[in-house]
Symmetry: C2
Subunit: 332 residues, 2 copies
DNA sequence: CTGTTAGCGCTTTCAT
DNA sequence: ATGAAAGCGCTAACAG
């Protein structure tokens, strides 16, 4: 910046102002400066700006997986809003692991993010401590945590799980099973399973037909294997609710391979309204959530907290519930 | 850091050393310092460190889409290596757009990344200029660019497209079509299409049966629509090569809906070896690439360039070719 | 093994 | 409308 200033025959301060905004730099001066900037290919150093302004321009966002269109959509929704606010996102992939989440939080905190968006409401103790002392607005998404750390944008995964069984029951199924991943990782999936069991019991149905295939994310192939395991153990099963559309599709494909009629013999319900659910034949019944809306609302909450802070306003953190909806298609 | 130093009864420099490495701090002193650090919950400020060391600790990585398991795997491969090297990734999603790539490059450059990994070898002029003056090692992936900006880790998408037709020809198909996205966005997809046409002509087959469905990423649903368009215009088509497994799956599902036998009446080949290709019924013939290996090799190239630079060694940029392979399954 | 000094590139603040 | 001085939190380089 000094050298740009020298070439333009002004002080560094004037260059800084010319670059930053329109205010208070003579037009001729500004033009001269911008010409020099272009000529020498000067790119301002964001680090120095961070340092001087004590504002990092970063927002940290953690998702369980990037390779999942649900979370990818949420990230896209956030990007839309944070981009417009001039904030850059630091995106981290926790791989459905609380330990990895802790590592990432610790690493990101050093970059002094202005806000932090997390997926889920369950975190390690150290993560909670780090976050609490971080002095940045926090938003938890995709869940309705018992002890929120700040704002919340999500929905009840338990209710979603319950909605699945109730629908299967409504279309006449009396022996539903559930396919999901190992507990202690995907807590949202575990809550959907809990919702399934609770609602099944409430309807007077057996709630023990559960196949757990290992640690999340549960793949399509694992869904296929789960069907075999399910039928080997409980041949009477007449409906299968799955932790996601991916495993649901695996169940469907395996039924087709085995010549099992869907939904005649077995009904299938998934979660997430993934592309594959909309496109496969027969099309999957599923639960749809507006994932991008979760991202946008999470960003808006963070931005709101930041704005309140800047104006010295007090602001209570809030919970925004994003409704899910059952999409009845051809498999159940 | 000053306050930690005060509480531990040492100077800031000693705290810095204790935090950074084992070297040259008395064990008792270090223990005392680390205790204080833990007690007050001190988190070092990475920005100040960047500023003082003139090393950002960032690596920029740009991919066309995060919600695509091929690129997600490449990102995972990179993360593995960069993490181990203590570098944090700034991940950007170009949405298959060269303009968006340019914006992201400009924004990331302000953070002074130590290396930059791009997808593809086609960039806007300004992007090329920005990159060339950036003074950071550059790696281009997923392609074999005509004018590389630095190291390259990829494969020939044209050859992959050609391999698809040749296989369809080998299994007796003489009237193949191609389904892809609009040109000028996904240049890799466009190259696969070019390879398809060239190889078709070389085999004496018609090369004009191409359905373009719009801008990438091409979805499963668009694949389904493309089948209808293809058969409406060229009812004789007996095989369809697709720009990716997602569109290929859409074609397959639509065939099933229309009662068209696959592969009896129509053979299908995809690209990418996505989960859905492995799991669907019948399983998709496709082209597999070790995407995580691309990511690891790209990171290794960047790290190699960085190491050479540090030691003042000269180093010629290199091209690493990651082989693709045809995976013959049930649809072709 | 530990401390001191200087300075990274920019912006804030105050002065002109 | 522009400039000068100070300083953001840390570490390189040197001294002891």
């Amino acid at each position: 910046m000094q050298s740009v200033a020298r070439l333009a025959g002004v002080s560094a301060m004037t260059v800084s102002r010319a670059l930053k905004d329109s205010s208070s730099v003579a037009e001729a001066t500004r033009d001269r400066i911008l010409t020099v900037v272009r000529e020498v290919g000067y790119v301002p150093d964001a680090t120095a700006r961070v340092f001087a302004t004590r504002r990092s321009g970063f927002v940290a966002a953690l998702v369980p997986s990037l390779d999942n269109s649900n979370f990818a959509d949420t990230v896209r929704g956030m990007t839309e809003r944070f981009d417009a606010a001039g904030l850059q996102m630091l995106i981290g992939d926790t791989e459905y692991s609380l330990e990895r989440e802790e590592e990432l939080v610790a690493a990101f905190l050093m970059r002094r993010p202005e806000a932090i968006v997390l997926t889920g409401g369950v975190h390690s103790d150290r993560t909670r401590r780090l976050l609490e002392s971080a002095d940045a607005p926090i938003v938890e998404t995709w869940d309705l945590p018992a002890r929120p750390l700040g704002d919340v944008v999500g929905f009840s995964n338990e209710a979603a799980g319950a909605a699945m069984v109730r629908h299967l029951h409504a279309v006449g199924r009396r022996r539903p099973g559930f396919v999901g991943g190992a507990t202690n990782f995907d807590t949202r999936g575990a809550e959907r399973r809990a919702g399934f069991k609770k609602a099944a019991r409430a309807l007077g149905l057996a709630a023990d037909r559960v196949v757990l295939v290992g640690r999340p994310p549960v793949t399509m192939d694992q869904g296929a294997e789960a069907l075999d395991a399910m039928l080997a153990r409980w041949p009477v099963v007449d409906a299968i609710a799955c932790v996601s559309d991916l495993s649901a599709f695996g169940v469907l494909a395996q039924c087709q391979r085995r010549g099992i009629d869907v939904p005649g013999r077995i009904a299938i319900a998934g979660f997430g309204d993934f592309d594959v659910a909309r496109c496969c034949h027969p099309r999957l019944t599923t639960i749809a959530v507006d994932c991008a809306a979760i991202g946008r609302a999470a960003a808006d909450a963070a931005l709101g907290a930041l704005a309140a802070r800047k104006e010295g306003r007090r602001r209570r953190s809030a919970t925004v519930e994003i409704p899910f909806r059952l999409v009845v298609r051809e498999t159940a």
